[in-house]
Symmetry: none
Subunit: 227 residues, 2 copies
DNA sequence: TCCGCCTTTTTACTGTCTTTTAAATATATT
DNA sequence: AATATATTTAAAAGACAGTAAAAAGGCGGA
């Protein structure tokens, strides 16, 4: 997920909390909840949330005061949800450190988009998932593979083959399956293509291509990556 | 003065422009104005505005496309003003790079508060606007590129292409993706444009254009900058 | 508005890299 | 040992990329 830190919801209305719970967790966010200002401040301090959604109309505290208290140390985004729609309330909340202000009832899709905006601004680009196998690393999103940090020059077919095998580390993939995935369903009989490309790949990724350690042959069946 | 760079207003309605002129300058902001998308893009590039206020319903261009075009190089806040109030419009604008979205008619005090929020944030998180690659440096805010401190003369398309690749250093970008980002979604088949512009760029940025070190070809896939 | 300049698009050609095919050699399985 | 399966190499075919230059389009200045 984008961020493993939770979104902290501070709201006394149980319906709103339920709605946010469902919407946010359905979109892959972790959540933590508080029903009072006091509890909210404690949870903000202990749970280091990635973002705080704050209801201005809490029974036990003034919303503005909570924003100010949070902003003494909390740098990440604060989004206000409030029934109050007066310009004065909005301006005061924003000027005291809130990042955004939505009035209830709000549209969940819009809230999600505004959360994305806030998080986008507060965080640096997340690292890409990279598959590692000894001295070989394969970056699927960047379409690059490295060997001891040196870029390996691979053709698109070679990369597709390597990626398929690497994604299925330890599994035996049959010739037919590999051919179907890499070349397409019309090529399941062209085992020879596979042999040629396996040889090319081994030259590029193996220390000793004649004694492969990564790209292993399962005679009569297919190939297996790793293990 | 909060910031000596102006706020750029892109709106075709003269009443809105007058209103914003008065409100913003009364609050100490400098302003510059454009009445069309085209003019807006030019002024954004030449005037390095501290913030852009953009009307989505311009007569000469699709608002979303303008946001995308701006976001190819413009890092500072973009606030949308629009008569459209549908959730879909709001989400699309925000997800394509807008920082905030207000529907017309808007309250000037709220707009000012949201401008303060946006500027506050853009000062906290100043993205490094100058990318460096060996003897090449690319200044995204000023739309300029240098080679050994000599200014390189680039057309706007050339710059957009270079900026896109440079921002994605080390990643392989597909032909389709590059074409979509630089030319627009109707051009994903025009790989020849790309070849011509890549050749032009290489002449300008590479020591030896025939043996590129920065702008690398990934045959059958696309191009990769650096690494 | 027209002219000239600059940028983008189009065209035609050449060169390079990738995939396919083929054939000879090696290894595994029974 | 015989047979099937796999590896390796290299050349042929095909796909893809680079280049140059002309045509078209857009823009600003006279």
């Amino acid at each position: 997920m984008i961020n493993s830190d939770p979104i902290l919801i501070i709201d006394d209305e149980v319906q709103i909390r339920r709605l946010l719970e469902i919407t946010l967790s359905a979109n892959g966010y972790k959540i933590s909840e508080a029903t009072t200002g006091k509890e909210g401040l404690t949870l903000a301090a202990t749970g280091h949330p990635a973002l705080i959604i704050l209801d201005l109309g809490l029974p036990d505290a003034d919303g503005l005061e909570i924003i100010k208290k949070l902003r003494e140390w909390y740098q990440k985004p604060i989004i206000i949800l409030s029934v109050r729609n007066s310009e004065d309330d909005i301006i005061k909340a924003l000027d005291n450190g809130a990042n955004d202000y939505l009035t209830k009832p709000f549209r969940t899709g819009e809230l999600l988009a505004r959360i994305r905006v806030a998080i986008r601004q507060s965080q640096v680009a997340p690292d890409e998932p990279i598959l590692e196998f000894g001295s070989i690393s394969i970056d699927l999103t960047n379409h690059t593979a490295r060997r001891k940090n040196e870029l390996i020059k691979l053709t698109s077919t070679e990369f597709a083959l390597l990626a398929l095998l690497a994604k299925n580390e330890g599994r035996v993939l049959t010739h037919q399956y590999i051919l179907k995935e890499v070349w397409g369903m019309g090529y399941t009989e062209q085992t020879q293509y596979l042999r040629v490309f396996v040889a090319q790949l081994r030259k590029k990724i193996e220390d000793n291509p004649a004694r492969p350690k990564l790209l292993n042959t399962e005679s009569g069946i297919g190939y297996r990556f790793g293990y």
